[in-house]
């Protein structure tokens, strides 16, 4: 109704605003400069150093071998079959854990929103794996859960007459995915549960009156409501899952072969097992680029969801 009236003052404001805003920003600059400066140095120095090392011959075992390497480190990296395997492993690990945690987290969030006895205790139990540090949970999984002799899985297998499976040897990546999913499911549950609880309950009631079954309520009301929270979970988890390291280090050390070597573990192996700082830095640059590509798409998709 008032769109015509509203656009005129808006146009006025946009004409005068940039100048005033620029002036205000210039006045603010000295005040924010220290904080921005610290952050900038904090980010720029490691980035530039990594970039610098990635074009250097830099081996900790052989100080005599040094000097500018150009793109040799990168050439060596992309011709290394381990690198491509690690890239695939990284993406499979991130993707699989995201599917498990977001899918499972959404279902659990809806379930935990229903009234049932002992809900408070159940919630604390469901969320507690998130507070176990990765090294510890990896050890617990390795020795208490999946160990073919001492593990609970082995015990259950024997109970039904099957021969126990050596999970980390037979299904190494799947085992790592299981551990990481177990750690991150509570996080997804926590975020999605608060989102479920923020849903206006009368919307569900309106849908019930409209004849929606439980599945349809979930599909048409809950899921759209959760989409923003789901994108936040995906973004945050992706950032952390790209750098999964402790779980792999503790359980499989990247093996057998390169079956569980992801990019983070590859960089570690390059730098501290083979002492090739130059090659590791090249891998680090790839990791930075990869993370930025993912972040770009995620931020865009979240930005679009925020409009709803």
């Amino acid at each position: 109704m008032s769109t015509v009236g509203a656009t005129v003052p808006m146009a006025d404001m946009t004409a005068s605003q940039p100048a005033a805003e620029r002036r205000a920003r210039r006045r603010m600059l000295p005040l924010v400069a220290p904080a921005v400066g610290v952050l900038l140095v904090w980010m720029i120095v490691p980035l530039v150093l990594t970039l610098w090392f990635s074009v250097q011959r830099y081996n900790l075992l052989n100080p005599a071998l040094h000097g500018f390497a150009g793109i040799e480190n990168y050439q060596y990296l992309v011709t290394d079959p381990d690198f491509w395997a690690s890239l695939v492993n990284t993406l499979v690990l991130v993707g699989a854990v995201l599917v498990v945690t977001v899918g499972g987290g959404t279902l659990l969030a809806v379930l935990f929103d229903q009234p049932f006895a002992g809900k408070g205790i159940a919630r604390v139990l469901a969320i507690s794996p998130f507070f176990v540090m990765p090294t510890v949970s990896a050890l617990v999984w390795k020795n208490l859960m999946l160990h073919p002799i001492y593990g609970i899985a082995g015990f259950l297998w024997r109970l039904v007459g099957l021969s126990p499976v050596d999970w980390f040897a037979t299904f190494p990546l799947a085992s790592v995915i299981a551990i990481v999913s177990w750690e991150w499911l509570p996080f997804a549950l926590l975020i999605l549960l608060t989102a479920v609880q923020s849903l206006d309950h009368s919307q569900i009631e309106a849908a019930r009156l409209d004849g929606a079954s439980f599945v349809q309520q979930f599909r048409y009301i809950m899921l759209p409501h959760l989409s923003r929270a789901i994108s936040v979970v995906i973004m945050i988890e992706t950032i952390f899952l790209l750098t999964v390291f402790a779980e792999i280090f503790v359980t499989t050390s990247g093996g057998p072969g390169n079956a569980t070597t992801n990019l983070a573990f590859l960089i570690y192996a390059r730098a501290l097992l083979q002492f090739d700082v130059g090659g590791a830095s090249a891998g680090g640059m790839v990791a930075i680029v990869l993370a930025n590509i993912v972040a770009f798409f995620l931020v865009r998709s979240i930005g679009r969801r925020m409009d709803i």
Binding site: D200, S202, Q203, E205, A206, A207, R208, L209, D210, G211, A212, Q216, Y220, I221, P224, H225, S227, I308
Partner: protein
Amino acid sequence: MATLSLRGVRKSYLAGTETIKGIDLDVADREFVVFVGPSGCGKSTLLRMIAGLEDITAGDLLIDGTRVNDVDPASRGLAMVFQSYALYPHMTVADNMGFALKLAGRPKAERDAKVAEAARILQLEPVLTQRPRSLSGGQRQRVAIGRAIVRQPRVFLFDEPLSNLDAALRGQMRVELLRLHEELAATMIYVTHDQVEAMTMADKIVVLHAGRVEQVGSPMELYNHPANLFVAGFIGSPRMNLLPGTVGAAAPGGTVPVTLAGGVTVSVRPAQVLAPGSSVTLGIRPEALRQAADGPFSGAALLVERLGGMTLVHVTLESGETLVAQADGNDPIRAHDVIRLAVDPSVCHLFAANGLVLSQAEPPQAKPGDLHDLDAMPSLARA
């Protein structure tokens, strides 16, 4: 098309608290029934029980004579408009209105036709492709109503639908809802805490209090013949003045003097024998009080509210009680003026100590044969 009956309907929770304490009610076809009562009286719970969103602990709910206690909400053929509108935020207005039909698996052409028809009735055509977020409060309200219309329900349920709107819009939506009731010729049940909405919209008002029905009747019946103190105090704005008093010895001719605090005596003709000395409450509507030089009530005007068409005068009596009297809009009275008030003798209500009415006022135009209020003819005397 649809009648609705409640038979001894009760609602209690596991903790043992009973919020609905046995309600019997009949809603006729095409009737506009308003449930009204203060917060926490159970009116919304009762509506949700009718809708099927709350279980009925005991009693029967009948729609068109069929017991529907255990029928799921969608199959009861009801549509509900929620206080918060409960629109689906990620769907367009058209999708919101067509959602029920989509779930029912109706063909798209039929859905579109019904949505278009509802949009025409509610003047929502220009916003059909927008999302609820970009709509004004009144438009959202209309979308919520449109969602109900599209389903062609047997009974419409409204849960305080206007309480989130500003005063001007509320008045406008009230008129629109009445127009809609006329146009759709549907049975409607409407919950509100606002007795003005109840008075202006209802064919039949159900006054609820603490999980019980206090009185059922047309707006003017409730206004002129409140069955008890609660209804007397709740219906009517400004409130009825309620003054405690004591019954005196019956005078010849059947009148009984009631002595109020401050020594004013009002003679009433009660429908039943009153024991001398028993305490009663006298109810006087503000419009029944008028300024008169020989009036029995005297006091200072504490506050003068000018509403334009009328003026409300809050008077502190010599006995310390406050009376609200309605005066003409241009009445020259000012605050702190000392005035005397007389009561229109034909419109007084008398309530027993247990809150039930003892004698009822005669309505302005008494219908012939409306006998039960003719035997109450209070007259006034100065003690």
